[in-house]
Assembly symmetry: C2
Homo-oligomer: 404 residues x 2
């Protein structure tokens, strides 16, 4: 049978009891397992009226937004804001594309798989592959319903079968922050379809070297501005038929996407765009500058700490590239720290949990060996400070000779 049995054994988001600062009350564990983007709350708290949404009792009551459009449940206001947002960030080509909205990019991922495989060929489910380390939820999301249309096919590097397949390219990659392209070398045969998860291709995380220009790419409100609770994602899709089938999937899965959140996303994106067009506003009011500086500061501090415990942990290095958005060479400051432990530690997740009281997500969940662990860089300030302190405590552990 498909992957549901395995699934229930995996850790879930609601297994532990979190207070608002990510620290569990029972065992003092700091939970940095998930990528909850609360890091940006302080910025939005200062924005006042221009980011405050007011919805009256009779607003947005209909299922429909604009039934003349292919994606009939997409609010025109949000479509406009998305286009403008990408033009300001310079991170995606928006011309001649359909916008399809989803309940987070998670729903869009499934909508794309459906659109690329339905109606079924009859030749059995199409394998879905992604280069390891790949996003830990892809397998579970793909195999959730044991679909006859598609199934998880594992690491794209190891994929060498004939026939149709789908490759998911996450760039910058979750968990390791690297810029990626497709790796299955079957272009030209017409059998492979590629989709691009660009959740982290924003100027605070990585140099914007060009507007992404793929046939199917999607983004999310959660990681661009930090509004994860609104569950808004959007796809930019070249092919009309693919966009139509994605819309059909979302119609049958949830009859569209929350209009309240769509309008909120439009307002927040609009405020960011306004700030870049208002020359009088200082840098402090520009979201991407704020977020970029904040991520740079966190990464600088993390690298300092990891340097002090370099016998135990290491971090990836990222090349400097010319960022079109910032107009200078910049580094990557990924949303996650992809920590690798030295050879003496077999299971880095377990080590962090037991010795540092830090809950991260181990390498096996991402299709690689357990010497890796993913730790979010997007927590609130207090949780991030505790993360650094607890990581540093490894020095004392070493002194106490707990590590051989």
């Amino acid at each position: 049978m498909c992957g549901t049995e395995k699934l229930s054994a995996k850790p879930t988001l609601n297994k532990c009891s979190l207070s608002s600062d990510n620290v569990t009350k029972e065992d003092n564990l700091i939970n940095l397992d998930h990528g909850d983007p609360t890091v940006y709350e302080s910025f939005w708290g200062k924005m006042g009226e221009k980011c405050t949404l007011v919805i009256k009792g009779n607003d947005l009551m209909s299922y429909m937004s604009d039934t003349r459009r292919l994606c009939w449940f997409l609010e025109p206001e949000l479509e406009g804001a998305i286009t403008r947002f990408h033009r300001v960030a310079g991170n995606a080509a928006v011309e001649d594309r359909y916008v399809v909205i989803g309940t987070g990019s998670t729903q869009l991922y499934q909508a794309v798989l459906y659109a690329l495989t339905a109606p079924g060929s009859g030749a059995g489910p199409v394998p879905v592959v992604s280069a390891a380390p790949y996003y830990s939820q892809y397998q579970a999301e793909t195999d959730l319903l044991c679909s006859g249309l598609y199934k998880w096919g594992g690491d794209a590097y190891a994929y060498d079968k004939d026939g149709p397949y789908i490759e998911v390219v996450t760039s910058p990659n979750n968990p390791d922050g690297n810029i990626r392209e497709a790796v299955v070398n079957r272009s030209g045969t017409g059998e492979g379809k590629v989709l691009y998860d660009l959740a982290y291709y924003w100027p605070q995380y990585t140099p914007i070297t060009r507007p992404a220009d793929y046939d199917i790419m999607y983004f999310t409100f959660s990681k661009s501005t930090g509004h994860a609770g609104s569950r808004i994602g959007w796809a930019l899709v070249k092919d009309e038929e693919v966009a139509r089938k994605m819309t059909k999937f979302i119609e049958l899965s949830s009859i569209g996407v929350s209009k309240d959140s769509q309008i909120r996303a439009a307002k927040i994106m609009g405020a960011i765009c306004d700030s870049y067009q208002d020359l009088k506003s200082g840098n402090s009011e520009n979201f991407f500058e704020f977020a970029h500086q904040l991520m740079a500061k966190r990464w600088k501090r993390l690298r300092e700490v990891v340097a002090e415990v370099s016998e135990v942990f290491s971090l990836p290095k990222y090349p400097k590239e010319y960022c079109l958005f910032h107009g200078e060479f910049t580094e990557s400051y990924p949303a996650y720290a992809w920590l690798k432990s030295n050879e003496s530690i077999e299971d880095c997740e377990k080590f962090l949990r037991e010795h540092c009281k830090i809950a991260g997500r181990g390498g096996r969940r991402f299709g690689v060996d357990p010497s890796y662990v993913r730790v979010t860089m997007l927590s609130r300030e207090e949780a991030f400070e505790q993360f650094l302190q607890r990581l540093l405590s490894v020095k004392d552990i070493k002194k106490r000779a707990l590590i051989v």
Copy 2:
């Protein structure tokens, strides 16, 4: 292969170009195919401040609501409002149940199917049946991904196979407004699971004869208050394991449900409950009274019109029952008119479309013969008036001997 090919041939919501009053500009067709509950807009437009939601830029940013709870993405404020709302309406037992939230009841339907069938038994997909006429989308939603866990099994009246099955009971029924119970007579064998779609079990549509008290039942914001655009549904679930698996499904499908809409639903439900606790407020401010009177008025007018064209159309009759909410015997005023044409008209949907310029949804979509058609009673006032006028025009058609 599963039902995807058939699907794409079916009419979709975005096939025609609607203006805000449901009338297409191209062919003057009035679209009453879907159940968009815009009928209640006028009520909510008068509610002012007490139903106006204000969300600040830094509100509701996290994925999490309360990680100590089973359904960790459910806002405690909404859970409280749902409990209170059912107590005011008297339509469901809320004690000792888990509340699981979904992106509309559409997502919850799929979450229940997953929860009742995963991990798969290995014996092949479990049939899902419902008594005809059944909700037109169940088949497409069930077969969307050609799941190996479950598949559409058709009319429950005709179901006589051995082994596990799931029966969906919609009560009051969509399309015909009847109160229903399970019809597959296999209780006691432990092989059948029953889920109750109670979207229309509210005092404006049907007498509330008792609080519903089933193991798995779900409701939706769309049909209770008319806020379809918010995409909020909720299930009341007795069994912890079922609730946990439903939560897992929604985690993997969309990482939760829009928090903006959750808070909006809590506010609207709260305002309704407040109005019933505030003795000073007149009946006009009480939502269920307003909605009940409005539906009664529409049904009275529709029955008068149908009486005038009774040689062509007929409507179901509903028994009067004592309604615990209204404290008197009341009739049913369903959300849809389930029109039946006389023997001379083979296809009622086609007839309505061609002769009356009314787009309804034909009987075949609900698993019955095409002499039936479902027409929404929840449109805006102008569209409803046009519906009546156009239905009445059948008299002239008869005079012109277009009907033999």
